[in-house]
């Protein structure tokens, strides 16, 4: 997962509290799942252990949530390496879609496969429309637009596959029902 590196990236312009990091994460990556506070603190703990960040002072009413954290030289280096590393070009979400269709066909329920595909297609289309709305909002920032583009491109790929599969399964359905 990329949360540790995103947190490192958010510390590039200066020390931040766990709370600020959570807020900045959710703001910069509006299309990702919001990160939980617990996950932020657990991740910071590991980053401290690995020497990538260090605590950089506490507020008066010191509690764990009022500690601010700072990037180390090691941390900067790790961040640079992570950015440079190409990800294995594997489909992520689509593997779940595929699994459901394969399982439905294994069970021999062509109709359920079709209904699932049509419903998934509708859900993807709705999401695509929402992201297009984000992109066309006159107040959208460049990072909003490129994050929306990222989501759109992936939904588009899934949708092509969903439609082709729907067509194939419809053919299969016709064969099965007219036999």
């Amino acid at each position: 997962m990329s949360t540790p590196h995103v947190l490192l990236g958010l510390l590039v312009d200066g020390p931040k509290h766990g709370y600020d990091l959570k807020r900045a994460h959710d703001l910069k990556l509006p299309r990702a799942k919001p990160v939980a506070f617990g996950q932020v603190y657990a991740t910071l703990g590991r980053l401290v252990r690995d020497g990538l960040v260090v605590p950089a002072g506490q507020d008066r009413d010191a509690g764990p949530d009022r500690t601010s954290y700072e990037l180390t030289e090691e941390g900067r280096k790790a961040l640079k390496e992570w950015i440079a590393a190409v990800e294995a070009p594997m489909p992520h979400l689509s593997s779940v879609l595929l699994a459901k269709v394969v399982v439905a066909l294994l069970v021999g329920d062509v109709n359920q496969a079709r209904e699932y595909l049509a419903a998934q297609r509708a859900a993807h289309t709705t999401r695509l429309r929402e992201l297009t709305g984000v992109k066309t909002d006159p107040d959208a920032s460049l990072s909003d637009v490129i994050a929306a583009d990222f989501g759109i491109a992936h939904l588009d790929a899934d949708l092509r596959w969903l439609q082709t599969t729907l067509d194939r399964v419809a053919d299969l359905h016709r064969e099965v029902t007219t036999r």
Binding site: A118, T125, R129, T136, L166, A170, R174
Partner: protein, 229 residues
């Protein structure tokens, strides 16, 4: 009754059926995407709705009035005054400048030269292509030409804009600019838009999607539709 409706539309080209009983309703101010694979009848449907083609059977009503039964002249008048159309490309007159192209529908409707030019310049500006007012289409990129075509389609302030694959010939960023402008301006003017496309990303600019399949609407998206009548 809906703003624009089709009931049981049937249309063939010789022995090739293109529409086999299409029903559809569009409300005022809506942006509706009509989608479906190539050859499913999208363009034929659009032409019937816009009064360009006459269906073999079925009805098209617009603001409570049947328009498929109107004479060719009456339908042409409707297209000049109430409807706008935008195709994939090739709508601009190559010999005229961008401003002259955009002014053309107004001149044909009897608007004076000066007034038509002023309106044309203002629409080119709203589409971000004011700098090209005195250039000919051949001197503009595909995206800039298509933005001029949008200006030309909207200059008469139509109530309904019919678009057939309006960005089909453009790369994705140029297409996005055309659609972004088109949708923003349509909302500002409360123009109803029927947007025909095979591209899911283009369809996502609409408020709603109507799927066509083998010449009929496919509300479930399951891909097998019985023709309705």
């Amino acid at each position: 009754m809906s703003y624009l409706s089709a009931r049981g539309l049937v249309r063939s080209y010789g022995r090739t059926p293109a529409l086999r009983g299409v029903n559809l309703d569009v409300e005022e101010g809506e942006i509706v995407a009509v989608t479906g694979p190539s050859g499913c009848g999208k363009s034929t449907l659009l032409h019937c709705l816009a009064g360009i083609l006459r269906p073999d059977a079925g009805e098209v009503t617009y603001r409570g009035r049947r328009i498929d039964t109107l004479s060719e002249g009456a339908r042409a008048a409707l297209r000049r005054t109430e409807f706008g159309v935008l195709f994939q490309f090739g709508q601009l007159v190559a010999e005229l400048t961008a401003a002259e192209n955009v002014a053309l529908p107004l001149l044909l409707a009897g608007t004076g030269r000066r007034e038509a030019r002023t309106a044309a310049l203002s629409w080119l500006d709203r589409l971000g292509v004011a700098d090209f007012a005195d250039q000919r289409p051949g001197e503009m990129s595909g995206g800039q030409q298509q933005r001029c075509a949008v200006a030309r389609a909207l200059v008469t302030e139509p109530r309904v804009l019919f678009c057939d694959e309006p960005t089909g010939a453009l790369d994705s960023l140029a297409g996005e600019q055309v659609l972004g402008h088109l949708v923003r301006l349509a909302r500002e003017q409360r123009t109803t838009v029927v947007l025909v496309t095979h591209d899911v990303q283009v369809a996502a600019y609409g408020d709603r999607e109507i799927m066509l399949r083998d010449g009929a609407a496919d509300p479930t998206g399951l891909g097998t539709v019985a023709a309705q009548q």
